[in-house]
Symmetry: D2
Subunit: 217 residues, 4 copies
């Protein structure tokens, strides 16, 4: 596919460009705070930059009739509204977490939570010592998927990119479901999957959940 990257000089932007090109896709639009370079019409635009970039990103999607994969965090209700408007013209996939694995686990928990309703449950997560929030947003996502009040314990040590473990136990057995982010590349991979999935969509507002669901059929 032909794609564009917003924030192509940033950490995520560079990871995305590297991975997409390795997979045979072609970068035709590079946008950064102070620069824009375009060589062809992108089918998809990918934005993992910051909410400030959003208005320009929306403009570029309309101008190029390009679908949008957006992983920007901290979007306001107004931002979401703008995206919903845009989704009447192009297809949008928005999520706060593009790790494929975490989204699969969320789906597993939602589908199987009733089977675990009489098991004790605990969530344990580990992140690098510089991570400020505790518990992690992902831990709350997991708790929400299980749909009951769960004790979450957190460790902030060393350089761990992100481990999440859900423990289910009864008197006779223990099940643990664990996810380890090996590196930030995981999120670039998620963006790639999302882009490939979104490519054939005409318009509409999607989340990473829809990617998982289609894979389940």
């Amino acid at each position: 596919m032909k794609y564009g990257v917003i924030g192509y000089k940033g950490k995520m932007g560079r990871l995305i460009t590297k991975l997409f090109n390795e997979k045979g896709h072609t970068s035709v639009l590079y946008v950064d705070k102070n620069s824009i370079k375009q060589t062809d019409i992108p089918e998809i635009i990918i934005d993992f930059s910051s909410k400030d970039a959003l208005p320009h990103t929306i403009e570029l999607c309309i101008k190029n009739s390009a679908n949008l994969v957006i992983g920007t965090t901290g979007l306001s209700n107004e931002d979401i509204s703008s995206l919903k408007d845009l989704s009447k013209k192009v297809a949008i996939l928005q999520s706060y977490n593009f790790s494929f694995g975490i989204n699969i686990i969320v789906e597993i928990l939602e589908k199987f939570k009733t089977l675990f309703s009489d098991w004790d449950c605990e969530i344990f997560e580990i992140h690098h010592s510089e991570k400020k929030d505790k518990p992690s947003g992902t831990a709350f996502m997991l708790e929400k998927a299980i749909n009951r009040k769960i004790n979450i314990t957190s460790a902030r040590i060393g350089g761990i990119p992100g481990d999440h473990t859900i423990l289910f136990a009864n008197q006779g057995e223990l099940i643990s479901i664990s996810h380890r982010a090996i590196s930030r590349e995981v999120f670039a991979l998620g963006a790639l999957k999302a882009s490939e999935w979104l490519l054939s969509k005409k318009k509409g507002y999607y989340t990473f959940k829809d990617v998982i669901k289609e894979g389940l059929k």
Copy 2:
């Protein structure tokens, strides 16, 4: 419920009796190789003894119009045939593994295997040093659920009752799903769940899978 236990003096028989009574159920039929004691009509008969006991067990089910939960291993095709015949008169639940957790994991793997089709996979299992078979039958069940050829590694060390781990990895992330049997009580718990589930059934041949599936609705 009123229940009967075949092999009530054996390891599993004693665990079952202890657990069922704790949960408020009433033992009304005790059978062992050389003894039989009956105080009332059982609604369910539970048999985790040996295949030799099967003809007598079937006879008792017919006589008492009792449903049957059977966890006996090593049944022959003939044995299964006899059970199928019996299932026209009463409800039967048969499985080679009554661990609720393992059966949930099998169900998860079957439902989500397509999402993991482009992930590397490995199964690792640990059992006590006296376990003869390697890999374990449960490891093969897990491989079958994922429905592709998987490398299985096994350790036989100390007194581990049974650990099974399925690892899924791609370039950016690692998911592990682990099951630990804490003790044999896990199988008694599975028999209890199965019995409670089977109580309301009229007739038919079921497996532990059906218990899980109903819980999923």
Copy 3:
């Protein structure tokens, strides 16, 4: 060896008798609240019962010139004093935790703590849902061995006999040292090791640490 068991009808007493006899040792003295049976002179007396039994246990050690392995918890200073007095006549081994593995880990942590002084550390422990104290006494033992303030997180779920994990992490790597109690038998095994070790001692007051240390030479 010829040995005696205080509280031979209790959970630990029965486990100890079973294990010691399997290993070829001979039980010659059985003591319980209301009964005493003696067939020969014991070389070692093992007491994992309750502090109330202590005066009688001491009396029996003196009478038989038997060494003492004592795992009773909640001893008062006065109790310890009585044991110190006894240790002038026979050899005593006293500990609050007879798990060989935990005592090895404590020894590892004490010996290697300086190498980990610039690593982040976290202790995570899991016990069954009925365990009242949180964190566990063993978690505090581990923290004391590392000799700095450590964040301890605890889960109380299902029937877990006892898992303890120490995590050390820096920017580039993660080390975890984990201990899992498979069953209470672990403590009977510790009592066996302690008894075999204590057999050749004439008198003195020892702890499980001394058993480990001698094994290290």
Copy 4:
């Protein structure tokens, strides 16, 4: 300290430069296949490049009276001889594995192996799917430290930089000691530790083991 890097444009060279500079050390010598840049006299030269570079590296050490930290793999006996000769003039620290954690674990295993002599043991290691050797060299290092024949199982999945787990089990308990490399930065950190340790040495041939041992005093 003032230091020089051989292969400064390579993956390890860049990681080393980045880390050392962050810690306040000053790079004064940059060497690569086709270029050399020197601004001052280095106290230490660090070489994680290739064995082809060795003669030039040795020459530079002599010329600058600089100590040498060398992590180059696949050295021949002749190469080692050259390094031994050099070690009569400057201090050298050579190792095939600069992960501090793995070297600590090796030390723990050597010191405590006798205590585990009657435990079952198993080594399990996971690396990325492109790693050719199986088991890993590090797994053999661990086996050698325990000093008995151990079953090693290996998984090659996804992008795992390197996990190593040693399991010790008896009838009642399971101890696992695990190491996870989070990223290649771990080896740069090891080089930093080694350099700081080597700085005060006059001459002699050392290995990473000596760094660990001194930390233990």
